[in-house]
């Protein structure tokens, strides 16, 4: 007869947090999916490489002093015809090292992506919590704005906000402010997702007895939202946030590709792709292909992670 025995350890002993993560069902599920593990590894690799760009990049691509025009258009892994320098992924028209440019470009893309997701999430969660908990006209106003915004494509909203904001900023500040304007416009175009999800979870949570119990203790409503309801609605937010990160990075690249994103002095992956695109048909394929591949791998990995997280956290699919 098979029998499982009780572990003799002290039932009051609290596991350290890392032990708890390693023992969790989530981690177990994660470790059994090679595609998801690969995605996580790729994501972490790109994030850490771009964070460490100043230390690991072989060149400083945006310091004009360090550039040699003679190095221009060097193909990958081939010595330059004039200088004999070898670059892993080649160089562009200015003689910039593509590999270094990608590291710095991914840095900008990720910064904009994370910041935009953070901004959208905070805005969306706050509005969603209030709409769900308070109901009535507040709910109606917030959700109607959301509905209207949802009926336009995100890129249109982002372009619109980007245009308006830029026209409000004095010309001499525009270059510095570009990144923040980009974050603002991507964030504003994406908050609806969070608001809708959080609102529906809040509607379910607010009628649970633990919220009623808190009301009996005279806990004020902002505190109930923050301390009681928020931790219980974060699961789906995490999922949207991860998938949203991939979307935000793509949206940023799209805007930069269209030439409305970050200025060419601090290019993101999208800018690199746009610049390289001009040389695609004259044979210098590497200038656009490698940034493009990086974007593809990054967006795909983050997206796969998000998909897995959604399935793993969904109790009905388990």
């Amino acid at each position: 007869m098979t029998k499982t025995t009780t572990s003799s350890q002290d039932p009051y002993q609290v596991e350290p947090w890392w032990q708890r993560i390693l023992n969790s069902d989530l981690f177990y599920d994660f470790s059994r999916r090679p595609v998801v593990v690969l995605s996580a590894v790729m994501t972490l690799l790109i994030i850490s490489a771009s964070m460490l760009a100043p230390w690991i990049a072989p060149h400083t691509p945006f310091d004009p002093a360090s550039l040699n025009l003679m190095d221009g258009f060097t193909p990958p892994m081939e010595p330059n015809a004039f200088t004999g320098n070898v670059y892993w992924l080649g160089t562009d028209s200015q003689g910039r090292d593509i590999f270094s440019a990608i590291l710095y470009g991914a840095r900008v893309s990720l910064l904009v992506g994370f910041a935009a997701v953070g901004f959208a999430a905070i805005l969306g969660i706050t509005l969603g919590l209030i709409a769900g908990y308070k109901g009535g006209w507040i709910d109606t106003v917030i959700m109607r704005i959301a509905d209207v915004q949802l009926s336009f494509p995100a890129i249109l909203i982002a372009l619109l906000i980007f245009g308006i904001t830029k026209s409000l900023i004095p010309r001499e500040l525009q270059e510095q402010a570009a990144v923040y304007v980009l974050i603002l416009s991507i964030g504003l175009s994406d908050w609806v997702q969070y608001a809708r999800t959080v609102r529906s979870s809040t509607l379910a949570e607010k009628n649970k007895e633990y919220v009623q119990a808190a009301r009996l203790f005279g806990v004020t409503w902002p505190r109930i939202l923050l301390r009681h309801i928020l931790p219980n609605v974060m699961g789906p937010v995490l999922v949207i946030g991860t998938i949203g990160l991939a979307l935000a990075i793509i949206l940023e690249s799209t805007l930069s590709f269209l030439g409305v994103g970050v200025p060419a002095t601090q290019p993101s992956l999208g800018t690199l792709i746009r610049v390289g695109n001009e040389y695609l048909f004259s044979g210098e394929w590497w200038i656009t292909i490698f940034p493009g591949l990086t974007l593809l791998v990054l967006a795909l990995s983050v997206n796969l992670l998000g998909d897995w997280l959604r399935d793993a956290l969904n109790p009905r699919l388990r």
Partner: protein, 332 residues
Amino acid sequence: MNQAKRPLLEVKDLTCHFDVSKPLLNRILEREPKSFLTAVDEVSFEVNKGETFALVGESGSGKSTIAKLIVDLVHPSSGKIEFDGQSLATSRGQAFKNLRRRMQMIFQDPFASLNPRWPVGELVAEPIYAFGLAKSRAEVNRTVEELLEKVGLSGRDAAKFPHEFSGGQRQRIAIARALSAQPDFLVCDEPTSALDVSVQAQILNLMKDLQDEFGLTYLFISHDMSVVKHMADRIGVLYLGALVENAAAEELFKNPKHPYTRMLLDAIPDHEMTGRKRQAIKGEIPSPIDPPSGCTFHPRCALATGECKVKRPEVVVREGTRVACWEVDRLA
């Protein structure tokens, strides 16, 4: 029984409607008026200090709504609720806070009533912080530990999370949390209906012990007649939101006056196999959105006359029992 001059809780003509209308556009298109559900219909009763007053009824009888009305989680449409001469609805500031603290509630589902993200110690400490009942962190911790031990858990359970406990243990945590507000009145909304019988016995015993120790007053809400008989001093029987009978517990079981009470008692399964014959029961509870006219029980009542169909019965007193039935004297 207690000889307090004034009842601790006094409920008078309490009524609560819920708007169950369709959305505005549908109403206009389908030419329907607004519709209301009368969840609680002119209910009056009193609860004396130190006693247990039980409300029994089947689903849709409004018993849970009354619980929420009393602790002001739901606002009444009309009527008044006075606790120790004061009302939650009209008091403000410190008086309100104090009143709120004195009336606490134990919920039906111990899986939903504890926030799953909070450790037990913080759950139990929340009322202490909210009402400012302790001066220091150390005092809070000591109180929490004492309370957990009082309800049969260990002080060391404070670090654990709710999911590590069984249903019965969670209900103990919920009781400890309610007690940490130092209340004198507890509304218990079906506190054991989600639990197994052997665990139910533990919780009921605990609640009786705590009542003896702290002199608590309970408003006990249940659908289970045998649990109510075990716990209550007085019992109110609800049918479709109205209180049809209000009697001392022993009297109610020995000498039920309202036909619905009799029916309810007949329907209890005879788990002790005393040979008591179980009566077949006619019909089911009608919809509270469109209740029958007059006495709402008349379609199921064997004694119903023409008068019962049109006129709402008045409350009469017979042998200390308050009963709302036109034909009460024919029964006896």
